[in-house]
Amino acid sequence: MRSDSSGNDTRKLWQEQRTEIPEMTLEKIQQKTQELRAKTRRELTKSIAGPVIVAAVCAFGLRFPNIAVRAALMVAIAWSIAGQYFFRRGMWSAMPPGDAAQSTSLQSYRKEIERRRSLFGRVILWLFGPAVLAVGVLIAILVKLGTGPRGLPLEGALRNMAPFLILIVVWVVSFFAIRMRQQRELQREIEELDASERTQRG
């Protein structure tokens, strides 16, 4: 594409591209509202995964008379219940479109990045934390059972549990590795925005 006097430039090429404008009738907007509600329900269902793990471990673990085990599981239950409240409360803090329109793109983009970064912290603290505690207690119970009076020595019990333990370690490590990478990316993006704002002020 060569520039010429007729103004056949990139902007013209861009503006003249073929577009199919979707017909967004008010009925379609209502449908979109319902879809959004359904999507929110799905998101909420996903956040129940942590409490389900906690509940499953508790159903098994609370049968054991050990006070430490019971105390740890009670903590996991309380943590998990509180987590549902605090995690869900934060889910609604996305910037409404009316606010986005009153802010510049730079401001709304920064807020969105910060919101996503804090979401990670809440997932770790309120969903992942209780689940890891419950799984830790489960491992302790299984080890205790395996090394009981008629059981194996500790080494043998751990060897038998190796596949399960490896799975748990892979789950925890991969979850952290992926999330930490995303977190670093978001942090880098914030730093770039800071640098850009400093340049603007300078």
Binding site: T19, S105, R188
Partner: protein, 182 residues
């Protein structure tokens, strides 16, 4: 002025405002969605999301800024959030400065094939970080530097610098002369 007064006194309904905006900027919204999403299915979803959020946003429109600025701010916000949601690894996205320094892999391949040039242009835009995408899309939509600054929040100097870079990139890759947006 009558329209602005009607808006400020709340006489224009949210639905009317949306219809007006969709009529005036529908095509621009489609092009913008294309700049943020390459996959046709996801692009359609993104475009519908922008329309939906635009409709929602008009509940709070009191002519605080021009309709165009309002529409572009909402559209860019929804699209940038989409990029943040979909794209987990931002470091693979580049700034205008980085793109400017990269050699053009299609060097010498430019020609009269408009479809191919448009694909290359879209690909180039999709490599950019969201804020730089906003600037280049606004530039391609013929918005002047003041309007770009109003939408993005970048200072006039910063916008001018970015437009200068955009022109260099387009010149390198599309052998484009280009007019001034400033």
């Amino acid at each position: 002025m009558e329209g602005a007064n009607a808006i400020s006194t709340g006489k224009v309904s949210q639905d009317d405002l949306y219809r007006d905006a969709a009529h005036q900027y529908g095509a621009a919204i489609e092009r913008l969605a294309g700049a943020y999403e390459a996959d046709p299915e996801k692009r359609r979803d993104l475009s519908q999301d922008i329309h939906f959020q635009l409709w929602r946003s008009f509940a709070r429109y009191r002519a605080q800024c021009s309709l165009r600025t309002w529409v572009y701010r909402v559209a860019h916000h929804v699209a940038a959030s989409h990029v943040l949601r979909e794209r987990k690894i931002f470091s693979r996205l580049a700034t205008l400065e980085q793109i400017e320094k990269l050699p053009d892999r299609n060097d010498g391949q430019t020609g009269a094939d408009q479809r191919r040039n448009l694909e290359r242009l879209s690909l180039l835009i999709q490599q950019l970080k969201p804020l730089d995408r906003q600037v280049i899309v606004s530039y391609l939509e013929d918005l002047d530097a003041v309007s770009i600054g109003e939408i993005t929040g970048l200072s006039p100097g910063n916008v001018a610098m970015k437009i200068h870079r955009i022109k260099n990139i387009l010149k390198q890759r599309f052998h484009e002369g280009g007019g001034d947006a400033e």
